[in-house]
Amino acid sequence: MVISEEARAAIDGEIARYPRKRGALLPALHLVQKELGHLSPEATREVAEIFELRPVEVMEVISFYNMFHARAGGRHHVYVCTNLPCSLRGARGLLKSLEAHLGIEAGETTSDGRITLDHEECLGACGYAPMLRVDETYHEDLDEARAKEILDALE
């Protein structure tokens, strides 16, 4: 078992909120991912078991959503929105400079496992561009210097 008892209890709590069990699948995947960092085949199997689904159905769901990761990434996920409103305000330049700063390309993880950097579609910060999403937190109205500071402060 890779999913802890605590997470299982939390999943049960989520299930109770929905008219049908499966409604709690996305919340459950969020919980498991939070605990394990990513959704491995073993974790996926266990989630499938909890929800009485086939593993392939859970895998389909995982693969559909940007926020679920089937493979392990860094300790922190950093996203730069590169959609039009952000690009108009220099987001792609910012992404490139962060790539150079971390020595990786978008989609990759630093060798110390600290940061996975990627671009993202519109995150709803269009008026405060460019921006970064660092794990669950938005950082907005950035310039390069401030963005690098934020990354450097990550453990």
């Binding site: 499966r22 409604g23 926020m67 959609n83 108009l88 579609e121 519109c122 709803g124 269009c126």
Partner: protein, 431 residues
């Protein structure tokens, strides 16, 4: 941090005030009085009539009458019925729902409560896009406060009315904003829109009758109940009453959210409220209502922001996300970003959408690289035509419209790329 620049109006009036985000502060400003009035003094049918009469249009993009939609809900039937609040806001250029969640959680909940009374719904599911962790946390807190105060749950206002609210977090997929994609996702599936029939009013969330409305749509409702339909119609245009929160982004001095009457001219929004393009540069084009909506060139901005007038210019109000591009902007690059987005976000069911979005993106990227050829522009238009009005949901249309708009008004940008075999806009934003 979030700031709400400028114009106070009824939705955002108190958004600068931290207390307003709490139940106590909200009640101190008359909060939940409208819900109390609706539930204790009005019949569900009265509420629907009132909202119909107010002319409130959905603020999620399609602009359908909210009161009408509520009236489609079956009132007999012993099965439960549901409301869904669409807080998936992912249309590029749109970020108004986020502030309505962060700063106006109780206002929206009150609107939901009134709508629930009107439709006699059992539960409301609020589908918040997964990335909106902070707004969802705020909302969770508001919901807890409302339960604790007896404003949700059993016997609300002592009238025997019961209503539950479930905050559901998405996981990152634009298509979950489409109402049936949302329902699938809410049920724990891939967010692939459903074919219709059946329609959500008969077979919606978990198979039950369901009405979906946008965050902002719900947020207007308490004000309508409090002040009446005529008051509401005092804002905006005859066909498009009320205010709307316009989110301005791109090449402007003061990007931000502006709550303004519907029908406010686009040029007023761009040049007065957002103070125009920095450094004295000129505007090249403006997308008026989120990325799905066709662009307007600088010469066509003297248009009221309401569907009836925007349609005459072959575009639409959408989510009211106003994206401004200055004179340096390469519209082929804009097309690259736009088509990439739709290619990435198509749910992939329908042939035209799955294959069309990818094809459009590949063609415009090739043109941008300088490898375009004569027939490419016609081909782009032809592919758009193949995608339009033929798919399960309106996503494919939404992917075709902006390309059509760019070609309608900025065809020469594309032609110039083909002629020069390179991008002729060295000053444009970086790709």
């Amino acid at each position: 941090m979030l700031t709400v620049p400028h114009t106070t109006n009824y939705l955002t009036e108190h958004f600068g005030d931290d207390a307003f985000t709490t139940l106590e502060g909200y009640r101190a400003r008359g909060g939940y009085e409208a819900a109390k009035k609706a539930i204790s003094e009005m019949s569900p049918a009265d509420v629907i009539e009132l909202v119909k009469d107010s002319g409130l249009q959905g603020r999620g993009g399609a602009g359908f009458s909210a009161g009408m939609k509520w009236s489609f809900m079956p009132t007999d039937g012993d099965q439960p019925s549901y409301l869904v609040c669409n807080a998936d806001e992912s249309e590029p250029g749109s970020y108004k729902d986020r502030i309505l969640l962060e700063r106006g959680g109780h206002q929206m909940l009150e609107g939901i409560l009134i709508a629930a009374w009107a439709t006699q719904a059992d539960t409301t599911f609020i589908y918040v896009r997964g990335e909106y962790a902070f707004p969802a946390d705020q909302l969770d807190r508001c919901v807890r406060e409302a339960y604790d105060a007896g404003l949700l749950g059993e016997n609300i206002f002592g009238k025997g009315f019961k209503h539950d609210v479930v905050v559901h977090r998405g996981a990152g997929a634009y298509i979950c904003g489409e109402e049936t994609g949302l329902l699938e996702s809410l049920e724990g599936k891939k967010g692939q829109p459903r074919k219709k029939p059946p329609f959500p009013a008969q077979f919606g969330a978990f198979g039950m009758p369901t009405t979906v409305n946008n965050v902002e749509t719900f947020s207007h409702v308490p004000h309508i109940v409090k002040n009446g339909a005529d008051w509401f119609k005092g804002f905006g245009t005859e066909k498009s009453p009320g205010t709307m929160i316009f989110g301005v982004s791109g090449h402007v001095v003061r990007p931000g959210l502006y709550e303004l009457p519907m029908g406010t001219p686009l040029d007023e929004i761009v040049f007065e409220h957002a103070q125009g393009v920095p450094e004295g540069r000129k505007v090249k084009g403006v997308i008026p209502g989120g990325m799905s909506m066709p662009i307007l060139p600088a010469g066509m901005l003297d248009v009221p922001m309401a569907n009836e007038s925007l349609r005459e210019r072959k575009t639409m109000l959408g989510t009211g996300g106003v994206m401004v591009m200055d004179e340096r902007t390469c519209m082929v690059r804009a097309a690259c970003v736009i088509t990439y987005f739709f290619r990435d976000e198509s749910c992939g069911q329908c042939t035209q959408c799955r294959e069309g979005t990818g094809w459009l993106n590949k063609i415009v990227e090739r043109i941008e690289r300088g490898a375009g050829s004569e027939g490419d522009i016609e081909l782009l238009l032809d592919v758009c035509g193949k995608m339009e009005a033929k798919t399960i949901c309106a996503f494919a249309d939404a992917a075709a419209w902006p390309v059509q708009g760019l070609l309608r008004h900025f065809r020469e940008d594309f032609e110039e790329h083909v002629r020069q075999k390179k991008c002729p806009f060295p000053e444009s934003f970086e790709l």
